[in-house]
């Protein structure tokens, strides 16, 4: 019995550790005091300040563009590639399969500087384009792995059946394989999106003028002093993420229930 209490206490402490800084930020985003030490009074002022900060909103817009575009591109390329790598043999496939793990395991900073060097070599303007390209670069492998895990579970005879019924290679992929990959594609895209949304290190090296992203902006805000509007911003981001997560899990619950009924 005592054991159980101790175990639960340990679990609780770990969660306390995980949630403490977030809790602090949320609470103090409503604090009238600038110094964050004692809670002096309730206010929405920091939210107002936040929405008047044009460069922050600009950074938010940039982040959304970069994340959405890079997620879209990496999801398309990743899904197609996962299928191609699963289904076909072609020149260089073995090498490609090995290379794909590199962006996942190498330190982000090395990926960042190597991309920066290559952009300089190719005389590319640092900006939204290079930023999106870099985000695509680190997202694709995650999408591929996620889609691959669903692909390997598909009935391999399904593809034969489609061919047998007169489908060509494109139709096999589009009409038969793709619809069955949807769960893998969604989770891959979600992973790519969150990674892109939160990326600091790679963006730090590959962003240029006019392509400041939210994490970079927050980084410079934190570095230049105490700004309670950062608290307000983090609260908004937190609520937003929670909202999406709850939506997703409700949808999943419904699906599970529906399947259970059948």
């Amino acid at each position: 019995m005592q054991h159980k209490i101790l175990k639960n206490l340990f679990i609780f402490l770990v969660f306390f550790f995980l949630y403490l800084p977030i809790l602090v930020l949320v609470v103090f985003s409503f604090n009238t005091s600038r110094m964050n030490i004692v809670f002096e009074g309730f206010t929405f002022d920091w939210y107002k300040v936040l929405f008047e900060n044009r460069s922050l909103l600009e950074a938010f817009k940039n982040t959304m563009i970069v994340s959405l575009v890079s997620t879209l591109c990496s999801t398309i390329v990743g899904t197609l590639s996962a299928y191609v790598l699963h289904r076909y043999n072609f020149f260089g496939k073995k090498l490609i399969v090995k290379l794909l793990y590199i962006p996942i395991v190498i330190p982000e900073i090395v990926l960042g500087i190597s991309l920066l060097s290559i952009y300089t070599l190719m005389k590319l303007d640092l900006g939204m384009f290079t930023l999106i390209l870099s985000h695509i670069a680190f997202s694709i492998p995650y999408v591929i792995i996620s889609v691959k895990s669903v692909l390997t579970q598909l009935n391999p005879q399904m593809e034969d059946a489609a061919k047998d019924l007169g489908a060509n290679a494109f139709h096999v992929f589009w009409n038969v394989i793709l619809p069955n990959l949807v769960p893998g594609i969604i989770s891959g895209a979600m992973l790519a999106f969150t990674l892109s949304l939160d990326d600091v290190v790679i963006s730090y090296f590959t962003a240029g003028p006019g392509s400041n992203t939210l994490p970079l902006k927050i980084y410079s805000m934190i570095k230049t002093g105490i700004t309670p509007d950062v608290n307000a911003l983090s609260t908004i981001i937190l609520v937003f993420t929670l909202f999406i997560l709850i939506l997703v899990s409700i949808k999943q619950m419904r699906k599970i229930k529906k399947e259970a009924r059948v």
């Binding site: 110094m35 030490i37 793990y101 395991v105 090395v110 500087i113 969150t194 600091v200 993420t241």
Partner: protein, 282 residues
């Protein structure tokens, strides 16, 4: 038609691997053998000077500091994650999945913002010190950040889920009958842990080690924000070479050294029976 589809469909991935993975790394490798000129560029002269420079005591110290921080962070993550995962694994399936979602949740918010939350907590007049002072637990405020402690707290916090998730996934796969059998045969709890649980979760463990140790070396922003810029880590050193000192060849050489370390860890992970596909999955 079918051949055309195959060709077309394999193009994007080939281009991607070639242009965004292989080329940058080959170029960095190439750069690392070039001679840097003062302030700025590099000349196309072959030299090993950049690698020799790595063995300068000053830079060896930076390696040592980085690995020390990464090592301590990894050990702490392991010490937290094992009991946590084991205890969570004892709960019902429903509770388990809720708890694991709760582990992931904070990491869907911005990592810098969370780091900032720690700054608010750990400052000299921050929340923790204020509370401890008010309850007269301490007389002088504790130095919780702008030192190694701050860096390690930040690193552990940011990287903990990368240890918990793979470890949990391999612990939850252990057949409980093994543990029952061991108990039946009179094994003590410690024996069960070291002789059964650890060997069965070794690939999950190394997965976690890989995903904690390596990023730890490169996360310059945590040592910048929580370390007060006093401790130079490899990430900061590389960043300086590329963004301030502008000695790209030397920065490239450090990166190659870092890649070697990464490769070594990946080999160990593969030896432990780990699958590449299990890496980096949140």
């Amino acid at each position: 038609m079918n051949r055309i589809f195959k060709r077309l469909a394999s193009l994007p991935i080939s281009f991607y691997c070639l242009l965004l993975i292989l080329l940058p790394l080959v170029y960095i490798f190439f750069l690392s053998f070039l001679k840097s000129d003062s302030y700025g560029g590099f000349t196309y002269v072959f030299t090993l000077q950049n690698y020799l420079k790595l063995f300068d005591v000053v830079y060896l110290k930076v390696f040592a500091q980085s690995f020390f921080i990464a090592f301590i962070t990894t050990v702490i993550c392991i010490l937290i994650s094992y009991p946590f995962c084991l205890f969570v694994n004892e709960k019902s399936k429903m509770v388990q999945s809720i708890l694991m979602t709760l582990v992931i949740l904070p990491f869907l918010t911005n990592s810098l913002i969370r780091t900032y939350g720690w700054m608010v907590l750990l400052r000299k007049e921050g929340i923790i010190n204020t509370i401890l002072l008010n309850f007269h637990i301490i007389k002088e405020p504790l130095s919780l950040m702008y030192n190694n402690l701050g860096i390690i707290i930040g690193m552990v916090y940011t990287l903990l889920p990368f240890m918990i998730l793979p470890l949990y996934s391999s612990i939850s796969k252990i057949d409980p009958r093994y543990i029952e059998a061991a108990k039946d045969l009179g094994a003590s709890k410690l024996t069960i842990f070291f002789k059964i649980i650890v060997p069965l979760t070794v690939s999950g463990l190394f997965n976690g080690v890989l995903m904690v140790f390596i990023p730890c070396i490169g996360y310059f922003f945590i040592s910048d924000l929580l370390g007060g810029g006093k401790l130079m880590l490899l990430g900061n050193l590389i960043k300086n070479q590329f963004l301030t000192a502008r000695d790209w060849p030397f920065g490239a050489a450090i990166s190659i050294a870092l890649l070697l370390v990464t490769y070594l860890l990946v080999r160990i992970y593969r030896k432990s029976g780990g699958e590449m596909d299990d890496l980096g999955g949140l």
